[in-house]
């Protein structure tokens, strides 16, 4: 298999006494959709935030293109070409769509903001995502519906010609048509050669678009397999019990009670 675009090795993370991630290995391959699945509280969002540079990691390596990299914050990660759509979206409600999409990376002419360039680019990106329901790109985010916000957050992530895109439950707030669009987009991004990570609780979606599945169980990687190797039912077992047949965490009395 090709070399992973982005890889974490042996990552541990604790919040105070809560040990949330245990020796997690995680890899994102170019041109593939990696589904990250796990029950509520399994540590998916925490893993995403570590990749995004929002949380530091206690131990473990962060590799990009096979090279070990030092990331100290969201800016370093963005510079690598990694974009994240957060579960809680992280939009500023008092700013409009364009302002949100370029937040932290505003285009400037001299010392002034280049609103014309930003608005044009934002429009193009939204148009390429076939966003029809937004009234105007200068609408403030507080006036958008949950699904529209979701779309803005996704548009913000694909604006930057990135190499890796992580989406934390991007379809949770979406209607049928919008979900369809996001899943198509996820597939299109991967077909363009990006590494895509999709977090979802909907196994139908996962089976449909994912190439690989990484299952987390109580902060441990229970399985990291090709989607063809598993069935819907086995993924559910991995999520709920941490093992399924020959896959999963070995029964170990030391960890079984975690």
């Amino acid at each position: 298999m090709a070399q992973p675009l982005l890889e974490l090795r042996g990552v541990n993370k604790s919040f105070g006494v809560a040990h949330v991630l245990h020796d997690v290995d995680f890899a994102v391959y170019p041109g593939q959709v990696t589904a990250l699945v796990g029950d509520n509280g399994a540590g998916k969002s925490t893993l995403v935030k570590i990749i995004a540079g929002i949380y530091g990691r206690d131990t473990g390596d962060y590799l990009f293109d096979g090279q070990s990299v030092n990331v100290h914050g969201p800016r370093d990660v963005a510079a690598l070409g990694v974009e994240v759509v957060y579960q809680d979206l992280a939009l500023c409600e008092n700013l409009d769509i364009v302002e949100n999409m370029f937040l932290g990376r505003e285009e400037t002419k001299g010392i002034t903001l280049d609103e014309v360039a930003m608005e044009s680019r934002a429009r193009e990106t939204l148009a390429s995502l076939s966003v029809r329901t937004v009234k105007s790109v200068r609408q403030s985010v507080s006036s958008l519906s949950g699904g529209q916000r979701q779309t803005v957050a996704i548009a913000k992530a694909v604006l930057w010609n990135s190499k890796v895109v992580l989406l934390d439950e991007p379809t949770a707030a979406l209607g049928v048509a919008q979900t369809r669009q996001v899943l198509d987009l996820v597939r299109r991004l991967a077909d363009r050669g990006l590494g895509v990570v999709l977090i979802s609780h909907n196994m139908g979606d996962v089976m449909e678009v994912a190439d690989r599945v990484t299952a987390l169980y109580l902060g441990r990687v229970a399985a990291d397999v090709h989607v063809e190797e598993v069935t819907h039912g086995r993924i559910v077992e991995l999520i709920t019990a941490g093992r399924s047949g020959d896959l999963g965490i070995a029964e170990n009395p030391a960890t079984a009670t975690v």
Partner: protein, 424 residues
């Protein structure tokens, strides 16, 4: 370009429901505006209405209220409140507060006065020294708030008490420093030559008109969201009427005894306020720093995830507030002609907070403009001015001003609730 199409029949990809016809006519703009008002986005409207009410009430109760002499007086009195409020807008934008801004201004003015009197410094150097004192105070507050995470309310309350020690120590209780430097005192008691005033007025109006029209052309040419041309022209006309009207008013001889004296021209305070207004408006609306201020005020976590250095933004806001407080302290000293240990320790701060909030800056963060301070400051300054003419006791003044602050905060809180309900 992806959106140009004059055939609304075909909802092409990316035809944002109503972008193409957005506010093409005045009627559309008016409807938009009413919708925003309904949704709780009131901006400065309550302040403008309040100002009109105050003017009507005071001018009917006292015939000298509307004289050019009193209007010029009002401009000078409002100056220091407006500048203090303009600085506070920056911390309010972040949802923080600076209770020490008033006394920071007093301490700064005290340092400037000492440099002028004891050390014979040039006025410009002494002014810079005062502003540096303000900036250092802001830096200390910002650092304590950002690094130790103490609520700004508590930090600045401590500073409010401690900073009063500076002038008390430097001046001694009961004493005062005269503030009679030609230039600095002149800010309040001298006027811009009438011709120069007119030239400046014309330059400002032409500059605004050119900018607004250029903006309209460049945005409409590329099919971006823009205001309809008639609205742009109305804005230019309104500004021209205000600026030229004010200039004409202040250029007339307003001496109570016009045969003996000639007092005419724009008080120097006004150009100072306008320059600060233009500068900070530019910073807030046209620079990355300004954009980041709004972002941190709106959602600090989102800003952090976008790679914005939230600590730096927060500290800068406190530095700006305290530096503007220093300028305000100098204007206040210029008006009274002295600095005393109590300077800035009275109602200055609450007046300024009230001014910003009345003008439309939200106490909850994320909303506010430099212009809010100007409009709100005029409202706040009008109250003591009018009541003073009516010979009302000081307690009435306090009651009215306190009531106005409460009213403004209520409008803010209610419109915030409506905003989140209506989603405007």
């Amino acid at each position: 370009m992806s959106v140009e199409s004059d055939t609304p029949a075909k909802p092409a990809d990316g035809a944002f429901a109503s972008d193409n016809r957005q506010a093409v006519t005045l009627g559309d703009s008016a409807r938009d505006y009413v919708n925003r008002l309904r949704g709780g986005d009131m901006g400065s409207l309550p302040a403008i209405l309040g100002l009109v009410v105050l003017f009507v009430v005071f001018s009917t109760l006292h015939d000298r209220f509307l004289t050019t002499y009193n209007m010029a007086n009002l401009v000078v009195q409002a100056g220091s409140i407006i500048v203090l409020a303009m600085g506070l807008v920056f911390v309010l934008l972040l949802g923080e507060i600076d209770l020490s801004a008033g006394v920071a201004g007093g301490a700064s003015a005290c340092v400037t006065a000492l440099m002028l009197i004891d050390h014979d410094w040039h006025w410009l150097l002494a002014t810079i020294a005062g502003i540096v004192v303000g900036a250092v105070i802001g830096l200390a507050i910002g650092a304590l708030v950002s690094f130790l995470g103490i609520p700004s309310f508590v930090v600045t309350l401590a500073f409010f008490l401690a900073l009063q020690a500076i002038p008390l120590k430097l001046i001694g209780s009961g004493g005062s420093l005269r503030f009679n430097n030609e230039v600095l005192r002149g800010l309040s008691i001298k006027n811009v030559p009438v011709t120069a005033g007119w030239i400046a007025a014309v330059v400002i109006v032409l500059g605004f008109a050119a900018l607004a029209l250029w903006r309209y052309r460049s945005r409409s040419a590329r099919g971006l969201v823009h205001q309809p041309l008639p609205l742009v022209i109305i804005q230019i006309v309104v500004l021209a009427v205000i600026i030229f009207g004010l200039t004409a008013l202040l250029s007339a001889n307003r001496a109570p005894n016009p045969n003996l004296f000639n007092i005419s021209g724009i008080p120097w305070v006004l150009p100072v306020v306008i320059a600060l207004l233009l500068f900070w408006t530019f910073v807030l609306t046209r620079t990355r720093f300004g954009r980041h201020l709004y972002a941190v005020g709106g959602n600090a976590e989102a800003a952090r995830r976008a790679g914005i250095n939230v600590t730096r933004i927060r500290i800068s806001a406190f530095v700006i507030a305290s530096s503007m407080a220093a300028v305000s302290g100098l204007l206040a000293a210029s008006y009274t002609g002295k600095v005393s240990p109590g300077s800035g320790g009275g109602n200055e701060l609450l007046y300024a907070v009230a001014a910003a909030v009345i003008g439309g800056t939200s106490l909850f963060g994320g909303r506010g403009r430099a212009m809010d301070a100007v409009i709100g400051g005029l409202v706040i300054a009008t109250i003591p001015n009018g009541l003073g003419l009516l010979n009302q006791a000081a307690y009435i003044n306090l009651l009215v001003t306190g009531g106005v602050l409460l009213l403004a905060a209520s409008v803010d809180a209610i419109s915030r609730r409506r905003r989140s309900a209506a989603g405007v």
